[in-house]
Amino acid sequence: MSGPAVSLDAVTRRFGGQAAVDGVSLEIAAGSFVALVGASGSGKSTLLRMINRLVEPDSGTVRIAGRDISAADPAMLRRGIGYVFQNIGLFPHMSVAENVAIIPRIGGKDDADVAALLDLVGLPVDYAMRRPHALSGGEQQRVGVARALAGQPGLMLMDEPFGALDPLTRDRIGASMRALHERLGLTTILVTHDMAEALLLADRVLVMARGQIVADASPRAMLSGEAGAEAAELVAVPRRQTDRLRALGA
């Protein structure tokens, strides 16, 4: 099993005359793990949110598995796409189990296997009856991932999902997301401003600036400087940090 391919054709979105996404065309292969990197305001979140229609494009077409999503009912479309974002947004009045089971519930399907989903994201089963506020930030985001997976999506959209977590947790959840991607055969699109994270997790890294994609390469090509100036600048940051750390240790 493999997640769907995603394609964008000349997609544009303006906010108050300013183009946040400016005529982007893009093919994302089925089953790939793509990272979308860029400074804040570069348009990467807007691009991601047009794929599940949380933002509607002004022009251009978005297709998932070859089908134009503007023809689909937005609510139905989103139930089939996993969406995880920085502020998590767990429903505070519901237990962990109710949060995880929300997509099957609103779709009128049988109850989700909450225990299996919690296990999948590495949380103990007895967390099911807790309230979200009783969990740490990392645990909350794991619940957020479990909630997104309960709809059995082929496509995962992640918008700075680890942005608010401490570095240790961030590293751990990043690794388990990559593992889930492999295990479930997902197509994953990850928005992040952290180039190191993108290089370590993704198969393909896209760099955005001023609403356009300015670099598109594999992590290896990025590191070797083949992806252009904008990419090289972003790659230089973690590289310099690594060098300094090494110098400190020596």
Binding site: A75, R78, I88, G89, L90, F91, I103, I106
Partner: protein, 503 residues
């Protein structure tokens, strides 16, 4: 005291029903409007602005405004809409309750973490699912606080519905205020406050149940409320004998006469209800519309008010003219004159009148520039005052308006030299006042007339039951009965005064 308490239960039932219905209507309108307002900021500003504006209108005025409004609407659809009683009270109170409901609804919805709403959209909830599964439960505690505020306001303001003829706990308050029977006022106030506190406590239970997700608390709060409303409904709808409604304006004489009339009707086998505390302008229209069956009004009031006449005709011709006008126009019936007048007169302390040599308003004109006229709250704006001034060229050093009780005190203490009084007021005899003669006939006659609604005018049995009252009350008897109720010490209830009059 005991009589006051016995009269309370039906009033509590009616008060509770009215408040419950008004709150229900406000919720029915306010909740959807609140949702729409929170989604569309422009609509929100307009709705909240309108609700705030309504809130600045005094409750009494809001009730009073609905009367002419409904009357006009009613005439459009052929008289199908009752302009007095339950409907105007319901509408005014519901409008009043709208602001706290709307404001807290919008505040509750806007206070929800945007991340939670993004997640709701992100997992694929429809707008309706988002509202019921996420927004409503999260906004509920703030919303409930608004509903509690609205409930307490509504129960308090419902006392004002007495003035448009809807029985409520305002009945004892207004009756007690007019007759200065403080036990009655207190009974009404305590009952209304108790009701408000009880409802607030039960809603607080519901609120904490919602906030903590305890279903038991919600049920424990709602069940007694629903039981009480159901009980009040059963109590009010319980089958009654054919009942007639006796109207009364808002002063002691009217309360006494209403009971005198009721006594005659009860002896004739009717069950009697009261609509008391009616404003002067409202009363006649209520009679013409059939909202009340019978009440006493005064020829001069009808002359200048509903008939819109400003000329003064010889006193003997007025009643015949009024009867003709009623038969031709509103269709109400004139049973007859009770035998006394309650006219506007000018009165002075006997010693002062003697010292200044004043016996008539003509004499007064000479001395007036040195004197202070104390008037009741409406006299100075009334056509009678304009007529007297014009006829006698009166110019006082100063005029000052008082509530009736304080007007008499001002005269007694010498603060005021002349007062506007009612000729049937018991205090004229008790304070030994000199009533100044009106040789030019500047004030129209104010015969107390027994009036019946159009339907009752054709009802021989009803009119027959009232006939014995015609010509049966000389002015000195009415003064004494009024004084029994108005005096400061050893007050009698209007019932007791009516019994004394009927003897």
């Amino acid at each position: 005291m005991i009589a006051a308490l016995v009269a309370l239960p039906p009033l509590v039932a009616s008060h509770l029903l009215l408040s419950g219905a008004a709150l229900g209507l406000a919720l029915l309108v306010g909740l959807p409007l609140g949702v729409a307002a929170s989604r569309r900021p422009h609509l929100g500003r307009v709705a909240l602005g309108a609700a705030s504006l309504i809130q600045t209108i005094p409750g009494l005025a809001l009730l009073a405004l609905f009367y002419p409004l409904l009357l006009a609407l009613s005439s459009l659809v052929g008289g199908a809409i009752p302009a007095l009683g339950f409907l105007p009270s319901l509408l005014a109170l519901a409008l009043y309750a709208l602001l706290p409901i709307l404001r807290n609804m919008v505040a509750g919805l806007r206070s929800i973490d945007p991340a939670v709403l993004e997640a709701a959209d992100g997992v694929g909830m429809t707008l309706r699912q988002r509202l019921w599964l996420v927004e409503a439960p999260l906004a509920a505690p703030v919303m409930m606080a608004g509903i509690r505020t609205a409930a307490v306001w509504t129960i308090g303001a419902a006392t004002l519905s007495t003035t448009v003829g809807q029985p409520s706990l305002g009945n004892p308050i207004f009756a007690g205020l007019q007759t200065e029977n403080w036990v009655l006022v207190l009974a009404g106030c305590i009952a209304a406050a108790g009701l408000a506190l009880a409802v607030d406590a039960l809603l607080a239970l519901v609120e904490s149940g919602i906030a903590r997700g305890r279903r038991g608390r919600i049920v424990a709060g709602l069940a007694p409320l629903l039981l009480a409303l159901g009980g009040a409904l059963a109590f009010t709808l319980a089958p009654a004998r054919e009942s007639v409604t006796v109207g009364a304006k808002n002063f002691s004489e009217q309360y006494i006469l209403a009971r005198l009339i009721a006594d005659r009707l009860e002896r004739a086998g009717y069950a009697v209800r009261y609509r008391e505390g009616l404003g002067s302008a409202v009363a006649f229209r209520a009679l013409a519309g059939g909202d009340i069956d019978v009440y006493v009004d005064y020829s001069g009031t009808l002359w200048t008010g509903p008939m819109g006449r400003s000329d003064v005709v010889p006193h003997g011709l007025m009643n015949a003219e009024i009867a003709r006008w009623m038969a031709a126009g509103p269709g109400t019936g004139l049973v007859g004159s009770l035998g006394f007048e309650n006219a506007y007169v000018l009165a002075m302390r006997r010693d002062a009148a003697a010292r200044l040599g004043i016996a008539s308003i003509g004499d007064l004109a000479r001395a007036a520039p040195r004197l202070l006229l104390g008037a009741d709250l409406e006299f100075l704006d009334r056509p009678e005052w304009a007529g007297i001034r014009r006829a006698y060229e009166l110019n006082f050093r100063e005029t000052r308006a008082y509530s009736p009780t304080f007007m008499y005190r001002a005269l007694r203490s010498g603060q005021a030299d002349v007062i506007s009084a009612f000729s049937s007021d018991g205090r004229i005899a008790a304070d030994r006042l000199t009533v100044l003669a009106d040789p030019k006939g500047a004030v129209p006659a104010y015969d107390a007339l027994l009036l019946v609604s159009p339907r009752r005018a054709r009802d021989a049995r009803f009119v027959g039951a009232l006939k014995p009252l015609v010509g049966s009350i000389p002015v000195d008897r009415m003064r004494e009965a009024n004084y029994m109720v108005d005096r400061d010490r050893d007050k009698a209830t209007p019932e007791a005064a009516a019994r004394w009059l009927a003897r």
